[in-house]
């Protein structure tokens, strides 16, 4: 994948559609470049989670294509998934495993070789302050610890595309800072991050580009300055992302 897709976008969605009775995602086109931190915003029910679940290969789209680093997800799902880590808003964990065993399992799923997985697990657990809890069961963890462990699981196979659905929900300030640092670090190392969040300040401060979806369609996209322009007269120069978001989604 590295050879022939070095210049491909990290993620490219074309004409993506998904219906659950009514359209949840409707002709969605979206491109995220490698090394970008892209924030996908939208009101409740806009289709954010559905989009991310399709990208993660958990939901089959009704129409449209998904390319991950130039690989068509439908045609070569295993190759495409190899590069992705997906973190839903509810952590995917096993209550009765210990953190190291969870990482061992995730590394096994992604086929990471033993020696490098063991070294990386140790490093990640240290970094996320989870080493001291290495011999405890996950069921006793706080929400923040669980979220950090899921992140460690995501990073153990060194994904090039990290997809996170509301990663900061329920975290205290220190844990939220650690997660944000980790995401920025990931993009600095050339990785790509796509997140959804309701905390607009986070998107404003961290994202290289922001996409706003509503009714399953992308209604605006760009840097904050570009979004201000798209919002038109309603958004002045100093307008915050919150102002712009409410203006664009017609909730102002």
């Amino acid at each position: 994948m590295d050879d022939h897709h070095e210049s491909s976008p990290a993620l490219r969605l074309r004409g993506l559609c998904k219906q659950f009775g009514k359209p949840a995602v409707d002709q969605l086109d979206l491109t995220v470049q490698q090394g970008e931190l892209y924030a996908l915003l939208g009101p409740n029910g806009a289709g954010k989670t559905t989009t991310l679940r399709m990208v993660a290969g958990l939901l089959a789209p009704d129409a449209g294509t998904i390319e991950v680093l130039g690989v068509d997800l439908a045609a070569a799902p295993r190759l495409a998934k190899q590069a992705i880590a997906y973190l839903p808003d509810e952590p995917m964990l096993y209550a009765k495993l210990k953190p190291g065993e969870y990482l061992e399992f995730v590394a096994g799923l992604w086929g990471v070789d033993g020696a490098s997985a063991a070294a990386r697990a140790e490093k990640l657990l240290d970094w996320l302050d989870l080493s001291q809890h290495a011999d405890e069961l996950i069921e006793g963890f706080s929400r923040g610890m669980k979220q950090k462990l899921v992140l460690a699981g995501a990073l153990i196979h060194e994904p090039r595309l990290l997809i996170l659905d509301e990663p900061l929900t329920g975290l205290d300030a220190a844990a939220a800072r650690q997660v944000k640092d980790l995401l920025l670090q990931h993009t600095r190392n050339g990785g790509t991050v796509v997140i959804t969040t309701h905390i607009l300040e986070v998107a404003e401060r961290m994202a290289d580009r922001i996409g706003i979806i509503q009714g399953g369609r992308l209604i605006a996209e760009g840097t904050l300055a570009q979004l201000r322009g798209q919002a038109g007269a309603g958004a002045a120069d100093g307008a915050t992302l919150e102002d712009v978001f409410l203006q664009l989604t017609g909730q102002a």
Binding site: L93, Y94, K96, E104, G108, V112, A117, A121, D135
Partner: protein, 520 residues
Amino acid sequence: MRLLPGSALWLLRHELRLFWFRLGGSGGKGPARRGPRVSAVLIAAVGAIVLHVFAWKLLSTTDGGAGMPPAAVLMTVTAVFVLIFSLMLSHAIKASIEVLFVRDDLDLLLSSPLPSRSIFVVRLGAIVIGTAAMYLFLLTPFAHVGALLGQPRWMAIYPVVLAAAAIAASGGMLLSLGLVRLMGVRRTRVVAQVLGALIGAVFFLLSQLYGNAGAALQSRVARWIKLHAAASGVLGSDSALWLPARATLGAPLPLLAVALFGLAAFWLTAQTTHGFFVRGLQQVVSQPRGATRRLGTPRQRFGMSLSATVIAKEWRLIARDPQLISQVLLQLLYLLPLCFVLVFKTDAVLPGLGASLVFLGMSLTTSLAWLIIAAEEAPDLLRASPASLIKVARAKLAAAVAPALLLLAAPLAWVAWRAPAAALLLAACVAGGAISAGLIVQWSAVPAARGDFQRRARGNVLSTFLEFGTGMVWSGLSWTALSWLHAAPHTPPPALSATLLCLALLALMALAWTRREKTA
């Protein structure tokens, strides 16, 4: 009826309403629904009518004679009473554990201004009603018909069943609270579960032991009973042992005694243990849920194959859930009497026994497969990974099948020592049965939470039918094969029945296979 909000009766009505809503089960397909289905209500109504007709047939032939019934009748009624009471106690222990440890809405109730005594009384009362319900359904037709036929003493069934349920509920609650005090919350759940099941099974185990004990012991027991059944003996008709039986048969004084005893047990339990109920709950709340549990130095082995990784994860998850283990292993309780038989009478009973072993192996596999496959905690993690889902499914199947095979290896080895050819046949049936049991779950089970283990049959009738059906077919196959082997070479091979069983197996597996697409 308008009840004062916040009163004990008001709360009882709330509990009963929730109980009714939950009767239909939860989750599953289709629109959200509460309360039992109309079809279930109809079936219950038909069942009640049939029971009434049955009671009519039985009671209209008796003279309803007053006076003292003979010792044999008292003995039989007592046996039935003890059997029902042991089942009630078993149910009450399980229900007490639910009340004590399943929090549900208890936080809401305890944080409200309702007195905690009312909450406890209502919960205990709900256990009594839940414990009595089935026996009231099964036995009260005799009371109704008896009253119609001019034998009003049958009405005693109502107070006797309710009093027995109250005594069982109080006993179950006291036992559970005692265990909490004695060994802490975590162990209590497991120990109480095992105790509950043991009490429920004790009649079966005892009858099996007696049935297999040999003629000498049986005749000694019969002699002993005969000796003491004389009018003045321990088992004579005047004996206090028959008090519950006499109450059941409507004798006024014994009936009064049993009813008062039930009321007193309920009242005393509510009075004396309500404080500890609240404290016991606080223990549960403050329990750190594993945060302080040290389980030794973790040992990870990165770099195992995908199958080994999956199997290691599944076995770890099961091994760390003592409650689930106890629930699963309780099924094996029934294996014990089979083993007594096997050891003493290998040749004569091998066909029936082989069939039972096959069925047990399959039921163990079904339970494990449900935990491993249907109750997967992070299905999205598996589907989002690049790992081959077919390989993951195969590894999960292996993880579910292997324990049953290992467990049955010992009885199989015994059979192999006595009859190698039969052992070979039996081993094939055990392995085939276990694998098909795992496949049935893989294809037809609906995803669920691990905590729903005991309720897994609800809302998935087809899956339950398939599990039971394949169990019967494999047992039938092993029975047919072993019987033939026993009788060979004097009889021809049972080609027709074997073919029919194979066809039935194929049909069941095909039916399960069609369910696969929806749940895959």
